[in-house]
């Protein structure tokens, strides 16, 4: 029995979820997250640079996170459309500072394993927090975030916080990487 489960565990580790570059947004605040989702080339040069286009600002509702299974999770530009709770139907793809094109989620140009997918990683967001269920912004709880080391491509910190009325709202972006498997987390907190 133990052997069986061990094999399962190893199989899951090796095969099950070996997609590179999964993005997870965990909203631990009582506010709706509304933000652009971005990805870019990290290996030299910033392009290609992808930004969510339809919708441009993705909404991850108040308190939607792994705790209740309502986190935003994108494995790649394509499969997110069919598997995510917060699908993006179109991406804005910049191949240089002067060339850009809109691509639907299922266009061959951005397919998993293709050139653009292989040369970009989840990298940044620009967000406004809103009072849950409204279009009213939470004053001061908005900023850009990008992974450390990416500031030459997108100017933003990887951590942000603001305190108001004894409550601290914060946001951060970080990675957890091992053996070629990479998870990028955007987390928003209110404590």
């Amino acid at each position: 029995m133990k052997k069986f489960l061990t094999i399962l565990g190893i199989a899951a580790f090796v095969f099950g979820y070996s997609q590179n570059g999964t993005l997870i947004v965990n909203n631990y605040t009582p506010y709706d997250f509304s933000g652009y989702i971005m990805a870019n080339n990290f290996a030299g040069g910033c392009y290609p640079f992808l930004t969510s286009s339809a919708p441009d600002m993705v909404t991850v509702p108040a308190n939607a996170n792994m705790g209740n299974g309502n986190e935003l999770r994108y494995e790649n530009y394509k499969d997110q459309y069919t598997s995510s709770l917060y699908p993006i139907s179109q991406w804005y793809v910049q191949s240089s500072s002067t060339i850009s094109v809109l691509r639907p989620w299922n266009h061959a140009a951005i397919m998993p394993g293709g050139t653009i997918s292989n040369n970009t990683k989840w990298s940044a967001t620009k967000f406004n927090m809103k009072y849950a269920g409204t279009t009213n912004g939470v004053p001061g709880f908005s900023n850009g975030l990008t992974l450390a080391g990416n500031t030459s491509c997108y100017t933003a910190p990887d951590y942000f916080d603001m305190t108001s009325g004894g409550v601290t709202n914060s946001a951060e972006i970080f990675t957890l990487t091992s053996g070629g498997i990479n998870y990028t987390y955007i987390q928003l907190y209110t404590f």
């Binding site: 080339n41 290996a43 030299g44 040069g45 392009y47 290609p48 191949s95 240089s96 002067t98 060339i99 094109v101 266009h107 061959a108 140009a109 394993g113 293709g114 050139t115 040369n119």
Partner: protein
């Protein structure tokens, strides 16, 4: 001392060489074969030297030949492509000015990697025509001049969209290597 200087010189030349663009053509279309010239030219002011595929002039990258199956076209430079590429070109048309052009074999010294012509040209464009896969029947609407945009030497554009498919041209820098990608969907 001489040996050291020679080594440094060779290393320096190789470094320069490594920074030149490689060209990759990925044909993701399952309906059409790509037939197109592949050109490079001087981007540093003036358009010459201007180098274009010659044998064949129109390179054929078949339907569904791309990096997913290892059948993409890769040209690292004018010479090594003949030995390494699935779609070798035996000679190049070299224009040193508007008035002078000459055909050079793939292994001619003047177009060797690290030489003056190689060091001063970058992949720029392709004049292409798509053909129904495995046939000599073109699709007239699926053709054009694709390449680096805003290039007064070629007048190419970087994105072409047709009801039969799309074509795009873009660069990606990885490490210190620049790649030019021509992708057909």
């Amino acid at each position: 001392m001489k040996k050291l200087l020679t080594v440094i010189f060779i290393a320096a030349v190789s470094l320069i060489h490594a920074q030149n663009l490689k060209l990759i053509v990925n044909n993701y279309s399952t309906t059409f074969d790509f037939h197109g010239t592949l050109s490079a030219h001087n981007f540093g002011g003036g358009c010459y030297p201007y180098v274009t595929t010659n044998s064949p002039a129109m390179v054929v990258v078949p339907a569904n030949a791309n990096m997913n199956n290892g059948n993409e076209l890769v040209y690292a430079n004018f010479k090594d492509q003949y030995v390494n590429s699935l779609y070798p070109n035996a000679s190049w048309m070299v224009q040193l000015s508007a008035a002078t052009s000459i055909v050079r074999a793939w292994n001619h010294a003047s177009i060797a990697p690290g030489g003056v012509i190689s060091a001063n040209t970058k992949w720029s464009s392709s004049q292409f025509q798509m053909y129904y896969a495995g046939t000599s029947t073109p699709e007239p609407s699926f053709s054009g001049l694709i390449g680096e945009p805003q290039d007064p030497c070629t007048g190419a554009i970087s994105n072409i969209s047709t009801p039969y498919g799309d074509v795009e041209w873009f660069n990606i820098t990885t490490g210190n290597v620049d790649y030019s990608y021509l992708q057909i969907y």
